[in-house]
Amino acid sequence: MNLELLAPEISLAATAVAVILLDLLIQRKGLLAVASVIGLVVSAAFTIVMYGEPSRTIFNNTLAVDNFALFFKLLFLGIAALVILASVDYASKLERFRGEYHALVLLSALGMMLMATAAELITIYVALELASISLYVLAGFLKDPKSSESSLKYLLLGATASAVLLYGMALVFGTTGTTQLGEIGQQVQSLGVQGIIDNPALILGIVLLIAGFGFKIAAVPFQMWVPDVYEGAPTPITAYLSVASKAAGFAVIVRIFSTAFGLPSWLSLDWGIVFAVLAAIGMTVGNISALPQTNIKRMFGYSSIAQAGYLMVGLAAMGVASAGETIGQSTILFFLLSYAVANMGAFIAIIAITDKIDSDLIQDFSGIAKRSPLLALALTVCLVSLIGMPPAAGFMAKFYIFGGAAQNGLLWLVIIAVLNSVISAFYYLRVVKVMWLGEPSSAEKVPSSGALRVALTLTSLGVLGLFIFADPLIKAAESAAKMLGS
């Protein structure tokens, strides 16, 4: 038993419990955020120490500690830390349950970390539920009608998706006789072409898995919940949902599909094409629906559907690529990283602005650039990154992920994707336009707390840094992806 391999998870769980207890004991509730961030940093330190070592498994091969899992763990820890920093102003308005708020953020991060580590269907499911249930509660934390609606919608649809997922897992287990991903992979290969065709239950199982995870990553046609939930949830949680929850979904999909269903190649070609079609529909629907939005959180809801579409281009490349080729996986990892930084940065700026102007409407962002130029500049940089224009991380990510697809003969999808980026420029730039061209409603500056400023500085520098120093991170993504292949 190598319990030390779980040090990041154990320390994070301990922090979550400690934060709840601390809440009972102390009066200065601001310390809760400090404690949470310290816990996240400690967990990240444990993760970094393990990075680069060969892949190992524990608990009878249910958890795999490899670079792939570690890459995602660091991503989730970083996002959770940013969410905590972004929540400082918001949490200070909470009269009760501040400890629980922080603990739930940590627990859902824990669930996501386990999702990325899990190499067995039941473990994946349990980890997913840990992450999801925490998020259901967080979405309803404001307790006003919109927030409650958001939470309930998320809960009901999420539970349905979980049921679909579980059904899919049951079917896969029924046809292969195992829940361990590696063994499923061997079983599927030994079935042969005829065996798989004679086993419609397996195909149905795969389809249900795509549907279940499609909900998590907000892929069309499982995206209906996104705008309402995003609009109603507290803004830091919206940011969390749009970035971390999506990344966790992709982590699991990538692991399942490359380990269990990566071979035989005609099978992976089939699901690759399914993802290609979902990607094309997803980004088009997301972008076109985002165009008329007037509420910035709803707009970001739709834009995150489109971003999931771009990410699925990577899944398509993964399926279409020949065996042993991991370009699809590594492009997804890098894209998720740059998307996470840019989207978190955008949301942090939005939190700072909406907190002051007390409105989520895009038109009310008018003239922000004259009131707080640096804040507007940071949001502009993040939006430019989300469009996928240089000099920002999003450009490199798109270049890399579309390049992977083009290399594998999916040029038609790449053309749809780049044209979609043009559509997205229209609504992202509308926010830029309102901020820089509009007249401010008052000359008052938009103040923001120190924590927000730190978070915003980190993310906007990160957006530029990931562009200039893309090389080491692309290499890290490649090594993580390679370890998954072996």
């Binding site: 430019v384 224009m389 240089p390 000099p391 450009f395 490199m396 270049f399 890399y400 579309f402 390049g403 083009a406 290399q407 003969g409 040029l411 790449v414 053309i415 780049v418 044209l419 980026s421 043009v422 420029a425 229209f426 730039l429 336009k433 820089w436 061209l437 893309a470 090389d471 692309i474 290499k475 490649e478």
Partner: protein, 494 residues
Amino acid sequence: MDSGYLLAIILLPVAGTILIAFIPGLSERLIRYIAAVSTLVSLILAVVIFAGFDRVIGGIQYEMKASWIEAVNANFHLGVDGLSLPLVLLTAFLGFVVVLISWKIHERVREYFAWLLLLEASILGVFCSLDLLLFFIFWEIEVIPMYFLISIWGTGRREYSSIKYVLYTLFGSAFMLAGILSLYFTTGSLSMVDIANRDGVIVQSIMPVAVIFWLLIIGFAVKLPVFPLHTWLPDAHTDAPTAGSVMLAGALIKMGGYGMIRICVSIFPEVAQQFAPLLLALAVISILYGAAVTLRQTDLKRMIAYSSVSHMGFVLLGVFALGDVSLTGAGLQMVSHGLLTGLLFAMAGLTMHNVEERDLTKLGGLARQMPVIAIVFSIAGLGSLGLPLTSGFAAEFITFTGAFSSTTVAGVEVYTLLAVLGVVLAAGYILWMLQRTFYGPVLEQYNGVKDADKLEKVYMFAFVALILLVGICPFILTDVIKLGVSPIAMLIGG
């Protein structure tokens, strides 16, 4: 040691942007001086490399190469050859001049100069890049500064025009990106030099090269612009602030012509030859349609904008006549048009600023009130219609003779003869414009209108001197351009 020059030329304006944007409490005056100094030093360095460019060896000089992203084999690779060097010089010149032109801007000065310098840096980057990814990045970076320059400091329907500009450019570059990716996976290299030299082995053939050629050319055609993708240009040029128009018409649209020669023709000579008749037809349509529409304009800036469509058609004609001389002519035409149209927009901006009227039907007789502007405007206009001794004549003459005598494309004589009609039309609209604005009866209401001041005279005369210099001694530039385009023309046998 040589290799640092290009980096410095590009980074100086960037440094200016950073200084202006992030040092708190700068006075407007200091901001202008920072902008002027950084662009002036950049210009001086550009002159230095132009003078130091070895005209015997030719090829790519002042090269610098550093590995950037190994995973996609992308390098930070800069260098200039005879084709790009004059354009770098042109951009550096215009970059400095637009700072002087903008001396009277008082609205949001800090942001204005920050964007203006970033715009210059990105255009310089496009002309210096030898790596496709780097080229594309600079190509895209330019969009954002231009968007802000038009939308904040522009006139008229500026918000509409600026977003139209952005969407057209992004639409074109979307195809270009697909083209670059396919080219990369076909050859396994992002280096323009390696790909053009056929050093890159064909790794895998994803698609017919003709498709890649067209994906790329759509991106360049939007920028040049080529009919029917030109409709962003009149709006953007008309509504941009004067400095924006000068940069846009003077340097930015040259990126399209440059890209066509540098990438489309030199990497796909056979495909270019195959589709040359179609592109020549588009060139003729652009020339004649552009000129015909110009004749109908009554807005001073809009008129110059449409004339650009026509004049850039000459570039397209020169490029796809695919002859040694015609390509040289296209290169010279780009520089000449940059100077002439840059000056026209600067003078139009000055006229509008001093007179506060831009409608040609209401202007008249201004030669009496503002003689200096009238004379310089006339020189630019006459250059634009191809009067001998000006750069316009040299460029158009070389382009037409080169195109007419080109042996690589069948029927090119017909296209050339049709294109020459564009010059006749140009004479019509330019003389009409000059006559409407400056001659005819003196109008009372414009009494007391100021003429150019000292600073304005400085850059006006710099423009005029260069126009005459290139017109009288075109070999200063053509010797260099020839070094760049001859190897390309040799690929086709022209």
